[in-house]
Amino acid sequence: MTTLATGGRRTLRRPPDAVVLPIVVLLLLAAVAVSIAVGPRTLTFDDLLAALTAPTGTEADLIVRDVRLPRTFVGIAAGSALAVAGVIMQTLTRNPLAEPGLLGVNAGASFAVAIAIVVLRIGEFGATMWFAFLGAAVASALVAVIGGVGRGASIGRLTLTGVAIGAVLSAATAALSLIDPHAYQSLRLWGAGALGGRSLDAAVLTLLVVAVGLVLVVLIAPGLGLLALGEDTARALGGRIGIARLGGFLAIVVLCGAATAAAGPIAFVGLLVPHALRAVFGPDTRRLLIYSALVGPILLLLADVLCGMLIAPRSIPVGVMTAFLGAPVLVALVLSRRVQAEGAPS
């Protein structure tokens, strides 16, 4: 069956990696360059070069090193993490609408961070990230148990459960930030999903943690690829389903936790990117994972630049922009034949 399937797909002439991969990498580099170069203050190329190579503490150096570089790093890390987590969640739940934002995982992570900041008075970024992991783990387990993952689960019910639990957790987060005026200030921007406001150290830490998560994803990618064919097929082909599931869950927790701790709950990246890529590359899980890791940052960085320009000099939190861009994709998906064929309406 698998050979037939791949044979059928090959005839569709998916673009070869040798051509596409360099293009995507170049696009990512361009997005990174734009993200560093564009901001409320216009800087010359020389300013940027000096700030990156030989900083001397001028105002331009401070802007680049304290504001734009961290923002760009957080964008790379969160974009990769959320897009890859989307692919994993869609594979594990066999639900094309699964996504860290929609299923409430990001809301769980941010609620735990809010508890750390408001109740436990923990301000240090490295410490709050552990809370984000915990929150992401609890929320995903909760949604999985209540919404019913696995055989016979309804796409609609799982999605609705995620939305409901996400709504409760975000309301609780909002309540926490409202009862504490001090926390309100620090949670206000972050609560909507924004790339700015982190120190360079925190941004680098986020990048490292996401990199660790991506290594984990590489390790379980073969198992995920088998799971994508269906549980029975995967078992018949000798896949170790339990390990792939557990590894996938851990990867989701690490990726979503790190992204949310750094950038707040950002929805729809995990839905937008994998589905756009599926339209180009087909359902090959391995390719989806690789390209999601590269295209997620492109989307998030460019969306953030757009957010800075739309109502300048103010800026829109990037999570607002991803919701605006991602919601039509959700509509298109749920109205499409594909989701219906997989048994969405029950």
Partner: protein, 340 residues
């Protein structure tokens, strides 16, 4: 899950119903008295009654009658209207999740009202017109989107969730683009709150509730037939298309007026009719019981919002999201258990 609740509930006897009506009325009165008595300055219940009947100190009278009474009256009325709106949409969509906040109508009504605020007007009439216009536009959009593929199962609901997300983003952008004073007003009101609601809304809200209730009472027999299925309803003389459109318009107006007054208060419209259906054990949608449940639910949530972290007052909408979301999750897990 979609239509199960229509058939699964056993009917209750008249005596049981009477007991439920009397006890829920007592709960409502109790919550109202608590709402009048509790606050930053707690007023003993006898003094509350004295103030209500025009006796007692003038200061106490001002607090009880001038400040707290409008909030309690408006809270109960808004809760009832949200529940009626939800009940109407749940009947039309034949889906217990087909409530206006999930379908994106609340977000649309809020967009309309927000545009009016940014345009520089905060009069009751302008806000209401904006909210009604936005709500109707969102409703039309949702039904156009699902018209071609049909609203079966959860498709309608997920389209609504997507529209809610998108309009939510638009609303945030409008708030951010507005100047600071407007943005601050909008943000407080945007969480859905009875904090700061004032008496000027009483005529409009009570008028809309009375008219909407009357219209629903007239339509109730046709709606009960409609719940049995479109074919059967048609053969019994119901005109389904006309019924759907008029029910939808009444539902959107009821909802939009509450949003103009208090901002979007989520999940009451979703939960109240379903709770009423279970408590009253009713076959057809129990509209009066839904209204009573909505009023109780909102007064309770408002009391919680105001007193939980006193002196900080949470927006009422945050508490209803908490209660309603938990209820929704419970409902989904219940459906889960039944299916296995």
């Amino acid at each position: 899950m979609s239509t199960a609740s229509v058939v699964a509930v056993p009917f209750a006897t008249g005596r049981r119903r009477r007991i439920i009506w009397i006890s829920s009325a007592l709960v409502l009165v109790g919550l109202a008295i608590a709402g009048l008595s509790l606050g930053d300055a707690a007023i003993p219940v006898p003094d509350v009654f004295a103030a209500l009947f025009g006796r007692g100190e003038s200061g106490t009278r001002l607090v009880v009658v001038g400040w707290r009474l409008p909030r309690v009256v408006l809270g109960a009325a808004i809760g009832a209207m949200l529940a009626l709106s939800g009940a109407l949409f749940q009947v039309i969509t034949r889906n217990p999740l087909g409530s206006p906040d999930i379908l994106g109508f609340s977000a649309g009504a809020y967009t309309g009202a927000l545009l009016v605020i940014v345009g520089g007007s905060v009069s009751t009439a302008a806000l209401t017109a904006g909210a009604v216009g936005g709500g109707i536009a969102a409703a039309a959009l949702v039904f156009v989107l699902v018209a071609r593929r049909g609203a079966g199962g959860t498709r309608l609901i997920i389209v609504g969730i997507a529209l809610t997300a998108m309009l939510g983003a638009v609303n945030t952008m409008i708030e951010l683009a507005a100047d600071d004073v407007v943005a601050h007003t909008a943000a407080i009101w945007g969480a859905g709150s009875l904090n700061g609601i004032d008496g000027r809304w009483i005529p409009l809200i009570l008028g809309a509730l009375a008219l909407g209730g009357l219209a629903i009472a007239v339509m109730a027999p046709a709606l009960a037939l409609y719940e049995l299925g479109e074919d059967r309803a048609t053969s019994l003389g119901v005109r389904p298309v006309r019924l759907r459109i008029s029910a939808m318009l009444i539902g959107v107006v009821l909802l939009a007026v509450t949003i103009a007054a208090a901002g979007p208060i989520a999940f009451v419209a979703l939960a109240a009719p379903q709770i009423a259906r279970r408590v009253w054990r009713s076959g057809p949608m129990p509209f009066a019981a839904s209204a009573m449940t909505g009023a109780v639910l909102l007064l309770f949530s408002d009391l919680l919002a105001a007193r939980l972290f006193a002196p900080t007052m949470l927006p009422t909408g945050l508490v209803t999201i908490g209660i309603g979301g938990l209820y929704l999750a419970w409902m989904l897990s219940g459906a889960n258990r039944r299916r296995r």
